[in-house]
Symmetry: C2
Subunit: 217 residues, 2 copies
Amino acid sequence: MTNQKTTRIPRMTLSRLPLYYRTLCNLADEGTRRIKSADLGTATQVEPTTIRRDFSYFGELGRSGYGYDVGHLIRIFGEILEVDEPQYLALVGVGNLGRALLKNNFRRNPNMAIVCAFDADPGVIGEEINQVIVQPMAELGATIASLQINTAISTVPSHSLQQVSAKLVDNGIRSILSFAPEPVILPEFVNMRYLDLTSEVLNLLLLSERGQAAVAK
Amino acid sequence: MTNQKTTRIPRMTLSRLPLYYRTLCNLADEGTRRIKSADLGTATQVEPTTIRRDFSYFGELGRSGYGYDVGHLIRIFGEILEVDEPQYLALVGVGNLGRALLKNNFRRNPNMAIVCAFDADPGVIGEEINQVIVQPMAELGATIASLQINTAISTVPSHSLQQVSAKLVDNGIRSILSFAPEPVILPEFVNMRYLDLTSEVLNLLLLSERGQAAVAK
DNA sequence: CACGAAATGTGACGAGTTTAACAAAACGGA
DNA sequence: TCCGTTTTGTTAAACTCGTCACATTTCGTG
């Protein structure tokens, strides 16, 4: 109890958990009961050794000469990912992308959903999309407080991102997924993640075409 | 000339270039002529040391006691990122997300654009979105061949991703950005990148809430 | 029950990446 | 021109992560 051997789980291992979880669920749906790291490797495109190492951080989940019990893995990872806990999200910015996210609304994940949306444009306020009514920014504080939301998705453009983010944090949001490319300066306890499509495409091109750029010294 | 010191640029450094480039452009727009790594660090949220190390791979770009010339950096990085070369993309899957991408169409990047779109649903084929007409899958090969496109964005659902990806590759696509969570098995020379929103949200939560998951040994 | 086959969990290594620390270089005011 | 200040570029060390290799464990058949 005192000597908690709280081995810190590597960041990269955590980032692969959603992939493992989803793949295992698919396998279970197809009736697969047991799996070995080699087969899970081909399904996830992750090296079998890496999979075994990843799994080992959560205990001895497998059996030598047998493999892993799919149901057991799903239970363990589901618990870590808290997939059973309802995860409600707020959306700020209901433009093209925001609207698409709202229409989709994590359909495949029964416990994850955008439950409120905000925008500054009077033209979209009041609009109902997929059972969510777009609210004005002024109501943001009251709504996310009453719904006890602490995670938000932002599709607001760069120029207002800093201001909007600050408002989100002031109202209790602790994790933000932003689709704007500009980094934002926020308190350390806020977890921010950026998903800039342009950067992603540029990176894709950069990493494929040229693995090197000659540097004459 | 013979002794090309082609220092291989680290992957992580390359992945930060778009961020540097964009931030520097913003600074230039505001009239900033020179910048030091410390200030660029606060703007990009990257450690100043890391910035200097990154820059050093491209030569001695700065001056001691002075900093970096913003315009010079923009020129260098713009060249590496080939921002002046037009980069045309194909889109497969014109659902909610695909439509949003098409409406946005990298408006802020004058040299990057989706120039053709494909879908299997007869309901959307023929529709014109932002000057792009949605074509049937059957025309994919001919169109991307004539436009000489080698990069695609896919928003097709998981169950058809493998098949669609294979078709893309058969027709000359070498880089794919996919919004479906399932990994795909493709030849090694294809560069694939996944952007699964559900995984991103789960990761966000995982990395923030609990930096550790106790493992009793 | 015994034994070969199968598959895990992990020590060790090495590649890749970040960071601290500092010498060298250039600035800019007096 | 001189000199203290500023800031770079880089060496060295720390850290993270992925993979090899293999001892160990368990399986499952005869």
